[in-house]
């Protein structure tokens, strides 16, 4: 008999093996740190909390989608470029013909831009699956392609790389849906936070409660094994690349409505920030292991450090040093607890 080898794991151990546990601890530590260090700078307040959440929401939306893709074993380095690309697509379609744009009604512009953006994800996915090259290389290429297109096409048509004036058009509810501010405790919270929560909730349900989630874990764990038991690996991965593009589109729409404009360079470096949030959130770089809640905590940590540094008046130049340090520490810590927990 082997059942003496099947042991019951303690509750603490189960908690430790959850992918998001390390990120949750780190989040608490970072919050307590700034709550002490920056108490006089009003860190513990609704205003600061709103500032952190407003910063975290767009990054968090990207991180949730990137997490699903990374659990399935692929990277998307082009997501930041797609944010810029999608924003320019929306505004270029709205901009009147005499200014070099297409002059479409807002709803139609958003719809067409959405379809084009989904095609960028489809392009990434198909290219990765058809060439069998690492997605790291393919999407590194599309990082430049889509950023280049986001600069070149508007410049060609309108002679500009910033297109403004979203508020001049009847947005048919889009602006309200993505740019409303909610007053609470004397602070202004972006409605994007609610989108973030909704998207994260849907992603969690898909990952943990549906057969598609099982396929995502299986594909990332061992794509060949998954294929052998009938998982449509290629279709799944292409769909997940389209989901990251959809997240990029959502962020682009939030920014276009909040800031009333699009800029070719928007979303720059967001692909790395999203990957940092996902990895700090406990997702394995090689795929097959991770969660949605982890990257949510990861995005919160990222925004909290950023905001904490701003309000403590530390020179902002140090922000990258902190973020890089936290990334490395988080990965070491996550590895450590995962190994400990699975060996005991």
């Amino acid at each position: 008999m082997t059942d003496e080898r099947v042991r019951q794991m303690s509750l603490a151990n189960r908690l430790l093996t959850r992918p998001e546990f390390g990120a949750f601890l780190a989040l608490v530590v970072v919050w307590v740190f700034f709550a002490i260090v920056a108490f006089d700078n009003n860190f513990v307040s609704w205003v600061t909390t709103a500032a952190i959440l407003n910063r975290a929401a767009p990054l968090g939306i990207l991180a949730v989608a990137v997490a699903l893709l990374m659990i399935a074993g692929e990277f998307d380095l082009s997501i930041g470029s797609i944010v810029g690309f999608a924003g320019m697509a929306i505004m270029l379609l709205i901009t009147p013909a005499e200014a070099g744009g297409f002059g479409l009604p807002v709803w139609m512009a958003v719809l067409i831009a959405l379809i084009i953006t989904l095609l960028t994800g489809f392009f990434n996915g198909v290219l990765v699956m058809a060439t069998r090259l690492p997605s790291f290389i393919i999407t590194l290429g599309s990082l430049f392609i889509f950023r280049g297109l986001a600069v070149a096409i508007p410049r060609l048509m309108t002679n500009r790389t910033q297109l403004g004036g979203f508020e001049d058009y009847d947005s048919g509810g889009w602006a309200a849906a993505f740019a409303t501010k909610i007053e609470f405790g004397g602070a202004r919270f972006d409605i994007a936070i609610i989108w973030w929560i909704v998207i994260a909730a849907i992603a969690t349900i898909v990952l943990l409660k549906t057969h598609i989630g099982n396929w995502i874990f299986g594909t990332g764990g061992d794509a060949n094994a998954a294929r052998n038991v009938g998982v449509p690996v290629a279709k799944l991965k292409i769909a997940l690349f389209m989901v990251t593009a959809l997240a990029a589109f959502t962020v682009a729409l939030i920014q276009a409505t909040q800031l009333n404009s699009a800029d070719s360079l928007r979303g720059t470096l967001k692909e790395f920030e999203a990957i940092i949030a996902v990895v700090v959130g406990g997702t394995l770089l090689t795929g097959g292991y991770g969660s949605v809640l982890g990257p949510v905590f990861g995005a919160l940590i990222f925004a909290m450090v950023q905001q904490g540094i701003i309000i403590t008046g530390v020179d902002g130049d140090w922000f990258r040093v902190f973020v890089g340090g936290i990334l490395v520490l988080a990965v070491i810590f996550n590895n450590f607890i995962r190994q400990r927990a699975s060996k005991r």
């Binding site: 082997t2 099947v6 099982n214 094994a225 699975s342």
Partner: protein
């Protein structure tokens, strides 16, 4: 004969100028264990892959449930009820037992929602039927021992309606005790009416569970013996290739004699 669920007749497989299998015939009946014995390089892997639908035979006939058949892919063979459990399994170590068990064939309730309670219950029950008590189906497969992983893979194949179970060296990498677990499983699967093809190079593992023994050597069938006709010593000797073994014993005896 109609009671043979799977049979091959005169199968050869060539890879360019290499003759991997030549004129190989074998069969398995439901509720029986056919042991396929052979040393390294005897052609076992090629034969398994031919049975599993990975390779198509260059010559010869393949019968499944009495009908001549040619499988285009392993998936097709699997759908027909021929499940192959390879040595390196198709288990994903980071995933829990129940997630592995149902990967690719998830039971659903209400749209895309995975029926998790049922998945866990069935996993526990199926393992229990095979004599293993999985108290925690949430355990990652990576924390299971080699024998237990083989057992999960076999239980999965049985649950999803395998009529023929091809086991590729399931005991090769295991210790004595773990191998015992897998052997019990093989017997359990046989008792449930499944035709089992058990590939091994260890006659000590084959003999206790096998109903008949097919010996493969250098791509050819050396013999097919019912258990009654062949004592284990004879089996070992034939496997290693009688004359060679006698020669070896002779040489070893000489070497030992000189040493003392």
């Amino acid at each position: 004969m109609s009671d043979k669920i799977l049979e091959i007749q005169g199968v050869s497989k060539f890879f360019g100028s290499v003759i991997a299998l030549q004129n190989v015939s074998m069969f398995v009946r439901p509720g029986e264990v056919t042991c396929l014995l052979g040393d390294n390089g005897a052609g076992k892997s090629t034969l398994i892959k031919t049975l599993a639908g990975v390779h198509k035979p260059s010559e010869g006939k393949y019968f499944f449930e009495g009908k001549e058949t040619l499988f285009e892919s392993p998936r097709e063979a699997l759908n027909a009820g021929i499940a192959t459990v390879y040595q390196d399994l198709a288990m994903i170590p980071l995933m829990s037992i129940w997630r592995n068990f149902f990967l690719g064939s998830e039971p659903l309730k209400a749209g895309p929602i995975f029926d998790i309670e049922n998945a866990k219950r069935i996993t526990r029950e199926e393992m229990a039927k095979m004599g293993i008590d999985i108290r925690d189906p949430d355990q990652p497969v990576g924390t299971l021992s080699g024998g237990e992983r083989q057992s999960v893979a076999i239980a999965r194949a049985v649950y999803f309606g395998a009529k023929v179970l091809i086991l590729d060296e399931p005991t090769a990498a295991l210790g004595v005790k773990q191998a015992g677990v897998v052997l019990r499983y093989i017997v359990e699967a046989r008792n449930r009416g499944i035709g089992v093809i058990f590939i091994t190079h260890n006659p000590h593992h084959a003999y206790p569970v096998g109903d008949h023994f097919v010996i493969l050597k250098r791509g050819q069938i050396l013999g097919d013996y019912a258990k009654e006709e062949v004592p284990i010593d004879h089996l070992i000797q034939m496997m290693a290739g009688g004359a060679d073994l006698e020669q070896l014993q002779h040489e070893l005896a000489e070497a030992t004699g000189r040493g003392s």
